[in-house]
């Protein structure tokens, strides 16, 4: 078992939900696979998906919903099952 972090390539505002009324994309403890959307970064009035790059369990988020993030900042910790 190893821990990985998912990072954002973009600066902007991090969102855990696709829209204010919707459920979060994923919850802590959820299983994820490469390509699973874990959140959005909003910048320049456009939104970009942040996706998982490994298979495993999303252990915890490292940033809050609607927090400003920097490029390369770790967003979440994933533990793989290998």
């Amino acid at each position: 078992m190893a821990e990985h972090t998912i990072t954002s390539p973009l600066p902007g505002i991090f969102y855990r939900r696709p829209s204010p009324e919707a459920d979060p994309f994923v919850q802590e403890g959820d299983k994820i696979t490469p390509g699973t959307v874990i959140g959005l970064v909003g910048v320049m009035k456009t939104f970009h998906h942040i996706t998982a790059n490994v298979t495993g369990t999303l252990v915890r988020f490292l940033v809050e919903n609607e927090e400003a993030i920097r490029p390369g900042q770790p967003i979440a910790v994933v533990r793989d099952e290998a």
């Binding site: 390539p9 600066p11 505002i13 910048v43 320049m44 009035k45 456009t46 920097r70 490029p71």
Partner: protein, 330 residues
């Protein structure tokens, strides 16, 4: 021909000064957000400074060259690599058919990088310019940002690419960008609707001293700043509307600080050409480039008041700096 393998987050074809002289017809000029880096990149490869090149925003671009050309990158560090080797900014290189240029994401301060290619990008001019105007979907390639599979025609270089390669901008002319959460000083003149007729002297004093936070929802159209409760010199906008920020519709200067109710918005090079809100200041032409390197959601701005004469002087100073005679051989 330049082949695009990945368009990145927002990469557009731009030229300088863009589609000027058409504000009265509703066309913003478009062009590079940071014309300082853009013009230096062109000069490095032996092009006239306004030649069409690429504006790369926040990274992610991957391109393949199919011709021998000189190239240069000026602007923010995106960890660019040419065939896997790190590329220095503010320096010209020779590329050959098959060479691959890849950009990672932002590695430090700044937000945009410019790729100039000797001969330039030879898309057809629209209304006199190759600049991409995204809100109007004209210019550049089909009026849009680049995407995988695009093939961009290149012009013929006027200077031998091998002779244009290996030159650099002297360190004293390479700008240092303020970091995240740091303040940019932005030269600006008082605008057409300032004090005492529209705002109070206290409003303007606040405007020129406050550290304004740049909102994440800022782009080539407008840069949003924080909300402020202004005193205002008038009770209402009269015939222009109920709020004292209203006026009868009039033309907006490029770089105007447009105050819409409580919120100031800097109108950038893709911005609206007219409207019915006051403009209490205008960013000096020679300072507009700084907008291109500010990071939405992170940068702060302090407006430094300059007179019109000082603003003209800054343009002249900049013209002397952005000149081929200042380049060094590396």
């Amino acid at each position: 021909m330049l082949e695009v393998r990945n368009g990145g987050f927002e990469t557009t074809i731009q030229d300088y000064p863009g589609r000027i002289g058409m504000l009265s017809l509703g066309f913003a000029p478009a062009g590079p957000m940071d014309d300082y880096a853009f013009r230096f990149a062109n000069i490095l490869v032996g092009n006239p400074p306004g030649t069409a090149g690429l504006e790369i925003t926040a990274g992610g671009l991957v391109v393949v060259f199919h011709d021998e050309r000189a190239i240069a990158l000026c602007g923010a560090d995106m960890g660019a690599r040419l065939n896997g080797q790190a590329v220095e900014l503010w320096r010209s290189y020779l590329v050959r058919p098959g060479d691959v240029l890849e950009f990672d994401y932002l590695q430090g301060p700044g937000f945009r990088t410019y790729l100039a290619i000797s001969g330039g990008i030879d898309v057809p001019p629209v209304l006199g310019s190759r600049a991409t105007y995204l809100p109007g979907a004209i210019g550049g390639l089909e009026g849009r940002k680049l995407q995988a599979g695009d093939r961009l025609p290149l012009g013929e270089p006027t200077l031998d690419p091998a002779a244009a390669a290996g030159r650099r901008v002297p360190a004293s002319f390479v700008p240092t960008y303020p970091g995240y959460n740091e303040v940019w000083e932005l030269e600006a003149t008082r605008g057409p609707q300032a004090d005492p007729d529209y705002m109070t002297a206290e409003d303007m004093a606040f405007f020129f001293s406050h550290h304004w936070k740049l909102d994440a929802a800022s782009n080539r159209t407008g840069y949003r700043l924080d909300i402020h409760k202004w005193q205002w010199a008038r009770e209402s906008g009269g015939a222009g509307g109920g709020h004292p920020s209203n006026i009868l519709d009039n033309g907006y200067p490029v770089g105007a600080v447009n105050v819409c109710g409580d919120q100031p918005i800097i109108l950038c090079i893709d911005g609206p050409t007219l409207g019915g809100f006051i403009c209490n200041a205008v960013v000096a032409k020679a300072a507009l480039w700084k907008l291109g390197q500010m990071v939405p959601g992170w940068s702060y701005i302090r407006f430094k008041e300059v007179t019109l004469e000082e603003a003209i002087g800054l343009v002249k100073q900049q013209e002397e700096i952005i000149h081929e005679s200042n380049l060094e051989r590396s």
